[in-house]
Amino acid sequence: MCRILAYLGEPLPVEHLLFDTDNSLVRQSYSPRMMNTFLNLAGFGMKAWDPTSLRPEDPFSYRATTLPSFDRNLRFISSKLASTCLVAHVRGVTYSREAVVADTNLHPFHFVGARVVLAHNGHLRQFAPMRYSLVEHVQPELAQRIEGTTDSEWIYALVLSQLDDPYGLPDTRELADATANALRILRNVRAAHGIDTSSPVNLCLSTGRAVVATRVSFDYGWYPPDDEMLETDLPFVSLWYAIGGEYTERDGDWQMTAGDPPRSVILASEPLTTDLSTWLEVPEYSMLTAELTPEGLDFETRDLDV
């Protein structure tokens, strides 16, 4: 289980999102407010798009298995980077001998040359038997690029495989449809293997111009006996957003200002502030899409029945 964060909108120093607020993403790695029994200490990763940078279509990448709260490189870099789009992730793994903490398992996943990145908050229970059944749904060239051991990287390859051109720049609708298709394939593969236990799949995908996110769980509320993740999974895995003009500090409080039409949106597993009044909870079983347009931010929420 992990925590995810995405931002799309006006250029914003990345440190505001990662460090500055009283429930920032980095703080959520060691002190999450909405997970009672779990910490997210297995590494940090981010993709940040800066339109003023060299090759602006390529995101700035950073990932490290060290604790982000003590990562001085991350702190220095995030204070110098103003991004119009960011996807960041702190990874949590079960406290077991099977868990692998490695650079190759860090989100957001991003195959070289691809325009889409993906971060995942959740886990597919009994993924081991599913893995080989997914091969037929993943383009061979993409399957060969999978380096790590996570279910999330397979989900990434599966989504890319649903695009007309896995290395092209999909429009928001195509990316949303590809995500929904990938979830349907996962449901079918689970059914074929008789897997019917709770598996949260909160995804966050981005091209740098648009963000697609899901708050979904397969078979929510059903758990294997003696499950070690039970206490974490009993509540529906959370996802929140704040939308408006710009994310700014006022009288010591960070908040999203009003904006009509909206120009910025933050999506996060937990609100970045303990004050929830400028945050909205994403409904369970839904998909969000946000896209930067010349007129502002095009934003939509829809029911996702997969």
Partner: protein, 324 residues
Amino acid sequence: MCDRETVDFLATVPLLEGQEEPDLVELARVMRRRTVPEGEVLWRQGDEAREMLFIVDGAVSACLYVPGDRTVEIGRAGPGETLGEIGVLDGGGHTMSVRVTEPATVLALARPDFAALLAGQHPSAFRLKRRLASLFTTRLRNQFRHLAVSLGGEMAGLPADDAAPALADLEQCRAPDSKYVRRMTTFHDFDPLALWGFLTSGSYVRCPPGRTLLAEGAPSTAYYLTINGAVEKVLVRGKWRIRVGLAGPGKAFGYESLIDGRPSPVTAITRERALLLVLPRDLFDQLFNGEDAVSRGFLDVIQKDLVATLRETLRPCARLAASV
């Protein structure tokens, strides 16, 4: 510090209905009287809940800050009404900001003192838990009504095929492993023997997804507690419906009607296949009105559920209006 005037006032407070004179005297001793001018903010949304208030005279307004730099008035309160119970019960901070709209006199009850009132085994503690359940049910109905108004249209009847089934028509099954149930937060404070008594008092049913178990506007015949799976609580108006809650493991539904005798405020439909504990009305009444360890645990479960549901309905949420 206790005066006759305070005790006489407390005897008129609906939340304390049925409490005996010695209990009110004890309560008056630990309360602090304050006068507050018009315009004073008693607390802000999200502030740590250190006390709840009883309004002796004057009036206050409760507001919710919502995204977009807006404030929405949720309600007003006057003499005899109480404020701040949710925060002092669950420790999660005040749900709304409260401002004085007419100069007021209030009695403040500190969180530990309120907890002490509810913690006792004395009949007055049971009475207070039941009164709280009743008060929260009324507030919940008001919240659902506000949400329904936002949808517009008339309450829609369910198609005949979706009518709520009789309990006897549901697929009966075995009780779940009590080790699993004990791991739910809902039951952490339940005495183990009393939990066993609670879990064996009802029956268990399995339902496929999409099954309507309860219809808004119809009386509920049972209390349902989700053991596995999830049940959506929805409001249907015209051709639109919105989800106002999701009862996952450890969360209950169907009890509002059983508490206040009015029709169900929501429709309940299984979102996932579900395993449910069902307590028919007679068993619910027995547990709700009892005064033993099982009833005590049960009343706590209901209180937690109501508090959590109230918080959910007050929390800004992007509610999806889906067509029926």
